[in-house]
């Protein structure tokens, strides 16, 4: 009994990975070739975008917060990358730094609003989403500006599409993020502080944890991860488009929840959230393979999240 209770979090992570594998198996029945190496890597490539956003989301959800500014931080990042680089490799480094800086700044503002102004995370990040949307639309003239037609620098597009040992470069990047984020969360002082704050900010504060700075930093990280996903998506699709960030809000939260991270904070791992991103994307792909129309996919999405929250919520109340 005891042993089972101890590994409950691990079980959730395993369940999320199991779900991903199961979905690929189901997909293979529905659609021959679904589980081929080619198909699996391309599905995981799509999952990596969700997974990167989910890394930031995972950080803030672990402290009981949430980042609703994901859609437009991501979208603005894609626009900023293409317009600042004008599609030239020579300007790629500058554009990437500028874009990541923008993400960090937006996240920093979120954190400052939450910590020092005492604005609830839902309100603060939702407002930030609106502000960035306004800025992006206004400054780009609704994507009619001269630079707005620019493509992502070929180097970035190549980096996303290129492969190493047969695996897309974006997937390698995601793998590195999984390793680094998991390491940070489980083996560093910063990670321990994150879990402490998520469990009980008052007790963490009284144990000497610098709660304010940690929280602000976590929101900034979330902004950076959204911006990073925006850069990769622009490289993946070649261009920025309006509304490209919209699906990532729901998907990032869903991935984190499917991966067993408590929506109330303090419990869960990024390893789980990454599995959540993979299984969620696999689910979408299976539904697509079944020719499920978009409204049907949305309904199934919603139901999956509700069922999981019900199951996990029940467990915690025991």
């Amino acid at each position: 009994m005891k042993r089972l209770a101890l590994s409950r979090d691990a079980l959730r992570v395993l369940a999320a990975y199991g779900a991903a594998v199961l979905l690929f198996v189901i997909g293979a029945f529905v659609h021959p070739g679904f589980a081929s190496f080619q198909s699996v890597t391309s599905i995981l490539l799509v999952a990596s975008f969700v997974g990167l956003v989910a890394a930031g989301q995972c950080f803030v959800i672990l402290i009981g917060g949430i980042d609703l500014s994901v859609p437009w931080v991501l979208n603005a990042a894609a626009i900023l990358l293409t317009t600042a680089s004008l599609g030239q490799d020579g300007r790629a480094l500058y554009a990437v730094s500028l874009t990541l800086g923008m993400g960090a700044l937006a996240g920093l503002a979120n954190g400052i609003g939450v910590v020092w102004l005492g604005v609830p995370a839902v309100v603060m990040t939702l407002a930030m989403n609106g502000i960035i949307e306004g800025l992006a639309l206004g400054l780009s003239g609704g994507m009619t500006c001269a630079a707005c037609a620019s493509y992502a620098p070929p180097a970035i597009a190549a980096a996303v599409h290129g492969t190493w040992l047969g695996i897309p470069a974006a997937l390698w990047l995601w793998l590195a993020v999984i390793v680094v984020v998991s390491f940070v969360l489980s083996l560093t002082r910063f990670g321990r502080a994150t879990y402490a704050i998520g469990n009980n900010p008052r007790a963490a504060f009284l144990a000497g944890v610098n709660v304010s700075v940690t929280v602000v930093f976590l929101y900034a990280l979330s902004g950076v991860f959204s911006a990073l996903a925006g850069i990769l998506l622009a490289g993946f699709g070649g261009q920025a488009s309006l509304g490209m960030g919209t699906p990532y809000l729901f998907q990032s939260i869903a991935a984190v929840v499917i991966g067993g991270v408590s929506i109330l904070g303090g419990r869960g791992t990024y390893l789980g959230a990454a599995a959540g991103a993979a299984s969620l994307t696999a689910l979408v792909s299976v539904l697509l393979a079944l020719n499920m129309p978009e409204y049907g996919r949305s309904i199934i999405y919603g139901v999956v999240i509700l069922v999981l929250l019900l199951l996990y919520g029940r467990e915690q109340r025991e």
Binding site: A5, T188, R189, R192, N199, N200, A203, L206, A207, G208
Partner: protein, 510 residues
């Protein structure tokens, strides 16, 4: 109790349990426990933490169903579906955890479900506070403002509102789980007067407490539990015998002897111009190896003082000298790293002290992670070794360092919290009511630990809601009243009665 005696007792009892068992996960909290309380009787349940007292109260109060056995009311088995159902049967319960709604007023909390209403049902909001005021006054409570939010009043006041809310419903059976743990003498006296009123009117009162003098002063009968089993019911029993039954072993003198403070012990903490209420100021000095008690009624600024010295939030204008050097303590991290190291064990162990879902190890090492890590990476082997050492040194009963702290008993949780500061090697320890809600055996261990710590030259500032503890465990006691030090008591004048007298002198007059 023999089976025949149990059967006889339960047939006449207002409330009884017949061989009830209850398990949580793999832990058997109660096994075939019999219990019976008659109308008009005050019945105390005593035992260590985890002995099954709270579980029995929860079963009797309808909060949990028994796994086997039955609850009987007036000799008839009943199946209680919840606390509301229990209330319909005339059972009122004050559970150990406070249940007031923090963002509602005292009046709204007190009158919940029985608000004054207009003809068609809407609540007469304007009438709430006067009604609550009248209800409280009827119970002899005049110092709690019914318009205050529940979150604004002190823990003791919340406990009183919690009790008042139950007793104004005039239950036939009143169950109180550690009602006095956060109350001081005068409030306990108030509660006992209410209990006597109710029992005189025929109510059966069942309560739990860890304070022996309270138990003997009010209980008609005492039932002792150990490890989920009833080990005896007595009309009268002396403390030593009771403790032996509770713990299954003999505990020598409850209060260990105090190590003397060396005459040349340096002052390690000096406080001047500290204002607890924005007005009057106080100052004091604490020497190495000294245990300085802080006494007084609840709400006199103790909490502000302890949190203030720890920087959460800092005391305005206070001049603090740690180990001879002026120190600014703006937040807990400053206090932890100040000179000799300051540690705070707060009042609310679960809310302010521990991270319950996290492991024993995580809880132990949180303040020293800076020291334990290199470039931000925690040195895992060193951390595990230090956790194991402290677990062994304090005798923390846990399957291992990875066990979530929330799964340990209250006393062991408190030891984890103490162990955290031993690991940090803090030389100045602020102990705020560390024995609250802790069973007698663990209390004894904490007392001995305090003596050992003082003997090692650590300085302890100690607040307790139990004045007996203050009188026995401190070299000196400062009694706070209205944000000032009203009296300083030293042996031979240091006695529980003297502390109470000093605390109340003006409070009664004004």
């Amino acid at each position: 109790m023999s089976a025949a005696a149990a059967a006889a007792a339960e047939s006449v009892a207002a409330v009884a349990a017949r061989e009830v068992s209850k398990a949580f996960g793999g832990v058997q909290a109660l096994r075939s426990a019999p219990f019976a309380a008659a109308a008009g009787e005050v019945h105390a349940l005593v035992g260590e933490n985890g002995a099954g007292k709270s579980t029995l109260i929860k079963l009797l109060g309808g909060r949990l169903p028994p796994d086997s056995g039955a609850i009987l009311l007036g000799g008839t088995p009943v199946r209680l579906s919840g606390t509301a159902d229990a209330a319909r049967h005339g059972i009122g319960t004050v559970f150990q955890e406070l249940t007031l709604l923090p963002w509602m007023t005292v009046a709204e909390n007190l009158l919940i479900g029985r608000e004054p209403r207009r003809a068609l049902g809407p609540i007469r909001r304007g009438a709430m506070a006067p009604r609550a005021e009248a209800v409280l006054a009827g119970l002899g409570i005049t110092h709690i403002d019914p318009r205050a939010l529940a979150s604004e009043i002190s823990l003791a006041e919340r406990q009183i509102v919690e009790i008042a809310r139950v007793i104004i419903r005039r239950p036939h059976i009143l169950l109180l789980d550690e009602p006095t743990s956060s109350l001081v003498e005068r409030e306990v006296a108030w509660l006992f007067a209410r209990i006597r009123d109710l029992s005189a009117a025929g109510t059966a009162v069942v309560f739990t407490s860890h304070r022996w003098n309270e138990i003997t002063s009010i209980a008609d009968r005492i039932t002792i539990f150990r490890n989920g089993a009833e080990v005896g019911t007595f009309d009268a029993i002396d403390e030593d015998e009771a403790i032996t039954l509770m713990t299954g072993r003999r505990v020598e003198a409850l209060y260990p002897p105090l190590p003397p403070v060396p005459a040349d012990a340096p002052a390690v903490l000096e406080v001047a111009n500290a204002s607890l209420d924005g007005g009057s100021e106080l100052g004091f000095s604490l020497a190495a190896g000294e245990i300085l008690g802080i006494g007084g009624l609840a709400g006199q600024g103790h909490r502000e003082l302890f949190l203030g010295l720890f920087g959460a939030p800092p005391l305005p204008r206070a001049r603090v000298t740690v180990g001879g050097a002026r120190t600014t303590i703006a937040r807990p991290a400053d206090a932890i790293h100040a000179g000799l190291g300051i540690a705070l064990v707060p009042e609310d162990r679960k809310g302010e002290g521990l991270l319950l879902p996290l492991s024993v190890r995580d809880n132990l090492t949180l303040p020293i992670l800076g020291r334990l890590s290199r470039l931000g990476v925690i040195r895992g082997a060193a951390e595990r070794r230090m956790s194991r050492e402290i677990i062994a040194r304090l005798g923390i009963r846990t399957p291992g360092p990875a066990q979530p702290v929330g799964a340990l008993s209250g006393g062991n949780q408190q030891k984890v919290l103490l162990g955290r500061w031993l690991l940090a090697d803090s030389r100045i320890l602020l102990f705020y009511d560390v024995t609250r809600g802790v069973d007698v055996a663990t209390k004894h261990e904490i007392y001995e630990l305090m003596m050992r710590l003082a003997g090692e030259g650590r300085a302890i500032l100690f607040y307790s809601s139990d004045t007996e503890e203050l009188a026995h465990l401190c070299h000196r006691v400062l009694v706070l009243r209205g944000g000032r030090i009203a009296t300083e008591l030293r042996p031979p004048d240091l006695a529980a009665e003297a502390i109470v007298a000093a605390a109340m002198r003006d409070a009664d007059a004004g």
